[in-house]
C-alpha cells in the first residue's frame, strides 16, 4: 500500500463511498438482530407490539389463520436477501418461492397462490434476473402453485444490494396443524439438517464441497403426514436449535433429543467441524420438524422416507422446559442460538 501517512491521518472516508457515521449514542439496528436468534425474537416482539391482528389467530406462527365461511384460510409473507444470490443447488428465487410455500404447508395448508415482489438495484444483470425468475416459474409449475400477483421496483444503484424478493402466500387447511403436544410424543426430523447453511458457508468461504441447498417446497411431504402429526415447523434461520426451542417455549414442554440420531450428512459434519460451527444452528430451507403421538411415529417416518431416506425420530416430548441433547457422555442443554454464525479463528 503506498498511501501517504498524512492522507491516512485525516479522519474522513478515504474511498468517498462510505455512508455518514452516526453519533455514538444513537441506537441502530444491528445485523445480528436479523439472524434468527434471541436478538431477532426481541426485535420482532417490539415491532409487533405496535399492531393489532384483529380476528387472525396464530399470528406468531409461520402462517396466520382466519376462519372465513368455515374455511381455514392461512396467510404468510417473507422477504428474501441472500449472499451469494446463486449457490450450490439453488438461488434466491428458489428460497423465495419455497420459503412462503413452506410457511403455509407446516400449518397444514395447501398453498393456493403466491405473490412476488421484486426490488432490483439499478445495474443488476438481466440474465441473472431472468434466471431467478425462471427458477420461480419452474417451481411454480411443478408444484401447481401459481404466481397470483406481483410488483417490481428498481432502486438507484447502491441503495439496495442487487435484489430483494418478497413473497406472500395464501392457502387453505382442512386440519390446521396446531394440536397440543404431550409427554411421550415423538419428535421427527424430515431429513439431514444444515445442508442449506453448509452450502452457503462453503460458497461464501470458498471451500470445496458437494453439499447442495436442501431448499424445496414441502407441501407434498407434509400433506403425506398431515393426518398423522400434531404440529410441524419448517427449519429455517437459526436451524434445528431455534425451532426446537421455539416449540419448547410455546408448549411449555421439555424436548429431549438424542445427538447420535440427528440426521447429518458426513460432509456437513466435516465442514461444520472444520469451521467450528454448530450444525444445530445452521439454516435449512427444505426440512421440517414434526411432532406426533408415539403410536403414529413409525407410520409418519415411513411416509417421510419416501421423500428423504434420512427422515427419522430424533427424540421425544417430556414434562419440563428447555431442549436437552443426550450426547455420548451426558446431557446438555441446547440453547437458542444467539448472534451471527461465525467460524472459529484457530
Amino acid at each position: 500500500m503506498d498511501m501517504s501517512e498524512s492522507m491516512a491521518s485525516e479522519k474522513k472516508c478515504l474511498t468517498g463511498q462510505c455512508p455518514p457515521l452516526q453519533k455514538e449514542d444513537e441506537q441502530v439496528v444491528k445485523l445480528s438482530e436479523g439472524s434468527g436468534g434471541k436478538e431477532m425474537h426481541r426485535l420482532i416482539a417490539e415491532a409487533t407490539s405496535h399492531f393489532s391482528s384483529g380476528d387472525w389467530k396464530h399470528t406468531d406462527e409461520d402462517s396466520s389463520l382466519l376462519a372465513v365461511n368455515q374455511n381455514n384460510v392461512l396467510f404468510t409473507t417473507d422477504s428474501y436477501v441472500v449472499t451469494p444470490l446463486f449457490f450450490p443447488g439453488g438461488d434466491i428465487g428458489k428460497l423465495a418461492f419455497c420459503g412462503t410455500v413452506n410457511d403455509l404447508s407446516v400449518m397444514g395448508a395447501k398453498p393456493l397462490g403466491i405473490s412476488l415482489g421484486l426490488i432490483i438495484e439499478e445495474g443488476f444483470s438481466k440474465s441473472d434476473l431472468f434466471a431467478i425468475l425462471k427458477t420461480i416459474g419452474e417451481l411454480s409449475k411443478q408444484a401447481g402453485i401459481p404466481i397470483a400477483t406481483g410488483d417490481t421496483k428498481v432502486m438507484e444503484r447502491g441503495s439496495v444490494d442487487k435484489l430483494i424478493i418478497n413473497t406472500s402466500g395464501i392457502g387453505v387447511a382442512q386440519n390446521v396443524l396446531d394440536e397440543q403436544i404431550e409427554p411421550g410424543d415423538k419428535i421427527i426430523v424430515s431429513g439431514g439438517i444444515g445442508e442449506h447453511g453448509t452450502a452457503l458457508l462453503a460458497k461464501r468461504f470458498e471451500l470445496e464441497s458437494s453439499v447442495k441447498t436442501d431448499s424445496k417446497p414441502l407441501w407434498e411431504e407434509i400433506n403425506s403426514v398431515v393426518h398423522l402429526v400434531k404440529q410441524a415447523k419448517d427449519i429455517t434461520r437459526g436451524g434445528l436449535a431455534s425451532v426446537l426451542n421455539e416449540i419448547a417455549q410455546k408448549e411449555k414442554k421439555q424436548l429431549t433429543i438424542i445427538e447420535e440420531s440427528i440426521p447429518l450428512l458426513g460432509e456437513v459434519r466435516a465442514l461444520t467441524e472444520i469451521l467450528g460451527i454448530d450444525a444445530y444452528s445452521l439454516a435449512c430451507e427444505g426440512r421440517f420438524v414434526c411432532i406426533c403421538s408415539a403410536k403414529h411415529a413409525d407410520a409418519a417416518v415411513e411416509k417421510l422416507r419416501v421423500f428423504n431416506t434420512m427422515a427419522c425420530v430424533v427424540g421425544e416430548v417430556q414434562d419440563g422446559s428447555d431442549v436437552i441433547v443426550q450426547t455420548r457422555f451426558g446431557k446438555k442443554i441446547l440453547s437458542m442460538p444467539s448472534g451471527n454464525i461465525v467460524p472459529r479463528i484457530c
Binding site: M1, E5, S6, T15, D278, G330, G339, I345
Partner: protein, 337 residues
C-alpha cells in the same frame, strides 16, 4: 462407558487434586459440549486456558482497529473479532455506523485488496495465512500471539500439573517445540473429538502420577515433530518476534509477531491516527482472570447478568467456539436450574 473414563477413575483414586489446563479454546468447547468435566472424578480439575484468540487480544489493539475503521480505513478480520467490545464500541458497532469492516474466514479472501488493513489475530495456527498476505503486500495490524511463552508464565503462576496442548497450533509449530519449552509439567497434544480428549486426559494423568515431564503426541495423524516447514518458513521470512500485551496477563516478552517490513505494519503506517487512542478495560469484567484460569466464568458477577453472547461485556463472552464464558453460557447451564 468409554474405557478411558474407567481408567481415569482408577488412576484418580490414587491421586490428590490434579490441575490440568486445556490451553486451547477449541478443546474447552468439546469439553463443555459433551459434558466431559461431569464424567471426570471430582479431584481431576480441567481448567480452561488462554487459547481463545479474541480473548487475549488487548483492549488497546481492538480500540486501534475501531479507530482506524471509523477513520474510513477499510479493515478486515476474522469472525468473532468484530463482536469484541472495545472501550467505546465493537467493530460491529462501527460497521453499523457505516465503517467498512469485512468479516473473513480465510486471509485469502482479501489477498487482492491492497487498500484494506488486516487485523491479524490468532495463535500459530493462523499466522501462516497472515505471512502470505504480507508476501502479497497487504498491510497488517498484527496481534498474533504465541502460545509457548504464555504457558511458561501460566505453569508458574497457576500451579498447573499438566497441559493438554493445542492440536491445531501443534500442526504448524510441531511437537518438538513443546519439549524445548522445558517447563516442569508434562504435556499431551490432543485432537478435538471428545474421545481424543478423554484419552489425552488419561495419558496426562499417568504422566503426572509417575512424575514424568515429557511431551506425548496423541494427535500424530496431523502433528509432526517439526510441524509444517513451509508455514514456519514464510512466517520467518515476513515476521519478527516481539513483546506483546495480553489481556489479563500483561506484557509477555517475545510472545507476538510483527511484520518485518515497516511499510506493511499498520501500527507504523497509521501511527498518526492511532496516537490518540486511549483504552480502558471494563473494571467489572474479569476476562483477565478467566484467560489465566484463575476463576470460572460463573465467578464473574457479570456472567449472564448483563454479559451474554448477544451483548458481551467482555472478550471471553464473544466466541461460542473458543471463549470460556460464551461456551459456559451456551453449554454450562445445569439441567436442574
Amino acid at each position: 462407558m468409554n474405557e478411558y473414563v474407567q481408567k481415569i477413575e482408577d488412576l484418580a483414586k490414587e491421586m490428590g487434586e490434579v490441575r490440568i489446563m486445556e490451553v486451547c479454546g477449541g478443546h474447552t468447547n468439546t469439553i463443555m459440549r459433551y459434558g466431559i468435566r461431569e464424567v471426570l472424578p471430582s479431584n481431576i480439575k480441567l481448567i480452561s486456558g488462554p487459547g481463545c484468540p479474541v480473548c487475549v487480544t488487548s483492549q488497546y489493539d481492538i480500540d486501534c482497529m475501531i479507530e482506524l475503521a471509523l477513520s474510513g480505513v477499510k479493515v478486515a478480520t476474522y469472525g468473532d473479532m468484530i463482536n469484541v467490545p472495545g472501550t467505546k464500541m465493537s467493530l460491529k458497532d462501527a460497521q453499523a455506523q457505516g465503517a467498512d469492516v469485512k468479516m473473513i474466514y480465510s486471509a485469502d479472501q482479501i489477498i487482492d485488496e491492497k487498500d484494506r488493513v488486516f487485523f491479524a489475530v490468532g495463535f500459530e495456527t493462523t499466522t501462516p495465512m497472515t505471512a502470505r498476505l504480507l508476501q502479497q503486500g497487504i498491510t497488517v495490524f498484527c496481534a498474533h500471539k504465541l502460545i509457548p511463552p504464555a504457558m511458561r508464565v501460566l505453569v508458574q503462576e497457576m500451579k498447573i500439573d499438566g497441559f493438554i496442548d493445542p492440536g491445531h497450533v501443534s500442526t504448524i509449530i510441531g511437537e518438538d517445540i513443546w519439549s524445548e519449552l522445558d517447563i516442569p509439567a508434562p504435556q499431551v497434544i490432543s485432537g478435538f473429538k471428545p474421545e481424543q480428549l478423554i484419552k489425552a486426559t488419561y495419558v496426562l494423568l499417568d504422566l503426572i502420577k509417575n512424575k514424568e515431564k515429557e511431551v506425548v503426541n496423541e494427535y500424530p495423524e496431523v502433528v509432526f515433530s517439526k510441524g509444517n516447514p513451509i508455514a514456519t518458513k514464510i512466517i520467518e521470512e515476513t515476521m519478527k518476534v516481539v513483546d506483546s500485551e495480553w489481556r489479563g496477563m500483561g506484557t509477555i516478552p517475545q510472545s507476538s509477531l510483527a511484520p518485518k517490513d515497516p511499510k506493511l505494519d499498520a501500527r507504523i503506517v497509521y501511527k498518526d491516527i492511532l496516537k490518540n487512542v486511549v483504552s480502558q478495560e471494563n473494571k467489572e469484567c474479569r476476562c483477565g482472570e478467566i484467560v489465566r484460569g484463575m476463576i470460572e466464568p460463573r465467578d464473574c458477577k457479570l456472567f449472564g447478568q448483563g454479559c451474554t453472547p448477544e451483548n458481551p461485556q467482555g472478550a471471553c463472552m464473544v466466541s461460542e467456539s473458543e471463549g470460556a464464558c460464551a461456551i459456559a453460557f451456551k453449554y454450562g447451564k445445569s439441567l436442574s436450574e
